[in-house]
Amino acid sequence: MLRKLILLVLLPLGCPVLGAEQAIELNADCPPGFELSAGHCELRSLYQMYPSLQEAGVGGLKTGLPAYRDGFTPQQTDLGRYLFFDPVMSRDGSISCASCHHPDKGFSDGRGRSVGIHDAVLPRSAPTLWNVAFLNSFFWDGRASTLEEQMQGPLYDTHEMGGDPQWLLATLNGIEAYRALFAQAFPADFTNDAAQIRLDQIYTALAAFQVSLVSLNSRYDQYAHGYANALTEPEKEGLNIFRSFVARCAECHTPPLFTNQQLAVIGTPEPVGMPFDVGAEPVLKEPSQRGAFKVPSLRNIELTAPYMHSGRFATLREAAAFYTGGRGHAVPEGEELKIHWHIWEPNLSEVELDRLVDFLRTLTDESFKPETPSRLPSGMRPVHDDIALAGEIQDGATNNE
């Protein structure tokens, strides 16, 4: 009797126990935060009650959201989840999307600069994937305008996942389990046995999963929706410093997404020994955008240290202190940058910096964090918890490739 009871206690904790040979069935329910409507998952959020000037999705506490991506099917979303965690997507099977966008590390990787296959250290840090549904440009320099365009960067970069389109198609089509799952997610495309997995289906599924990573239920959000007790007094002080016109954080890290989605030249330093990163200048072919990077969202920011495009600042406190260090104080000699006008000398006190950090920590919400699949269609094991061997790069040689 006791033996049975123990078994029983263990049972409900995980998914139903399946035999290894049992086929995976894609989830027919939408992820949390989405309503199933005519077969598609549509975003629902209390922020949809609020207006937004010019529908720009920037404003104050009760401001509506910017334009966003949704409308994928539950099955596409779930298929994307399997692909996201499956190291079969990298050339040597050593990393998955989740290696650099780890669900337990704010969908970033805890590194200043990410590490690709063969332990290659990349020029910039991995941005969080939380709330990418609301973004209109991707990469630190904003060079991609859709998720589908963005993901082809890491998938096919020789230093990142190292694949190429032909190889990826051949790989996935060679896995019976994946063909079955793609057929579930794209039934209209799989009406006969000869149907093959296509690239656009891969991109769609990965995009579907990524847009499900919605984080709009932090304590800050509870405050924004009208619950004054959601924040402590020090945190409210931090909010007021954050939006004050002395610190001016909210001018670019604008609610509700805590980014205004613009490029800005702020002149943060690189890690020691790393050459200056020119940012968006080559993308826009615009010299005045030299050193410009996208304003990142600050949601879940406490989970994604170190900070800035190449991880120069180890803590939120250090990152906040940068802004009170003086206009252009960290710009390398010889660089003439058009530093953003909001970068000035606010002379924030040590206490004010502490309060800012207190406030930033109220932006944490992982309530819709998806589950990591317990087994993968490729039969490989998840690798995102493996600790990569590479340390921080010594000479910065691969920067600004």
Binding site: M1, L2, K4, L5, I6, L8, V9, L11, P12, P16, V17
Partner: protein, 210 residues
């Protein structure tokens, strides 16, 4: 092992806390129970041939609640199954609320082995159904949950559990508007997709305790 012990301790604590005059009631209930023995047996172990289920695994508060429902015509009235309608006049024999409490306490003090399995079902499927739909109220080990008015199911007769699930699904039980907890259970019973699923859940439950 640990989990099981913990569950038992918690339950024991709850029972003791809920019924301070437990010992006196047990004694008083002994006499009243003689009426019940004919069908439910000397130790309330049940008798399938007479459609009388095992009762001694149940919490007194749940036994009392059902006796009250039978006495009040909330259970076992028009539209109920034949066996439930048989039970209603028997419960009416109890004179008052104290008598109900006493007999319930006595029944709960009895013990017997669970009855042998009579229902075949897929216990893996049953576990899945149970975990999804039932365990949230009846507990992971089917130990019951007093704060949710959910009786212990582990140790119950499989044939009886099946009959009750079917009665709930058919509207023979849990249809009376006054029967709040019965209506709750009815709403859950109908979620099981078919009668095979009922068998699967019951088989799973019966497998919990031999």
């Amino acid at each position: 092992m640990k989990n099981c012990m913990k569950t038992a301790l918690v339950l024991a604590g709850l029972v003791t806390a809920a019924l301070p005059g437990f010992a006196q009631e047990v004694e008083a209930g002994k006499g009243l129970f003689t009426t019940c023995v004919a069908c439910h047996g000397e130790n309330a172990e049940g008798n399938k041939a007479l459609n009388a289920p095992r009762l001694n695994h149940l919490e007194p508060v749940y036994i009392a609640a059902q006796l009250d429902k039978f006495r009040g015509g909330i259970r076992g009235g028009d539209g109920a199954s034949a066996s439930a309608r048989q039970m209603a006049p028997m419960a009416a024999v109890l004179a008052d609320e104290q008598a109900v409490q006493d007999v319930a306490a006595y029944i709960a003090s009895l013990d017997s082995e669970p009855s042998a399995a009579t229902i075949e079902g897929d216990t893996v499927m049953g576990a899945d159904y149970y975990n999804q739909f039932c365990g949230a109220c009846h507990g992971a080990a089917a130990q019951g949950n007093l704060s949710l008015n959910s009786p212990r199911l582990a140790g119950g007769d499989d044939w009886y559990l099946e009959a009750q699930l079917l009665a709930f699904r058919a509207g023979q039980r849990g249809a009376d508007p006054r029967d709040t907890t019965g209506r709750q259970m009815r709403a859950m019973a109908v979620i099981l997709p078919d009668e095979q699923a009922v068998k699967d859940v019951v088989a799973f439950l019966h497998g919990l305790e031999q």
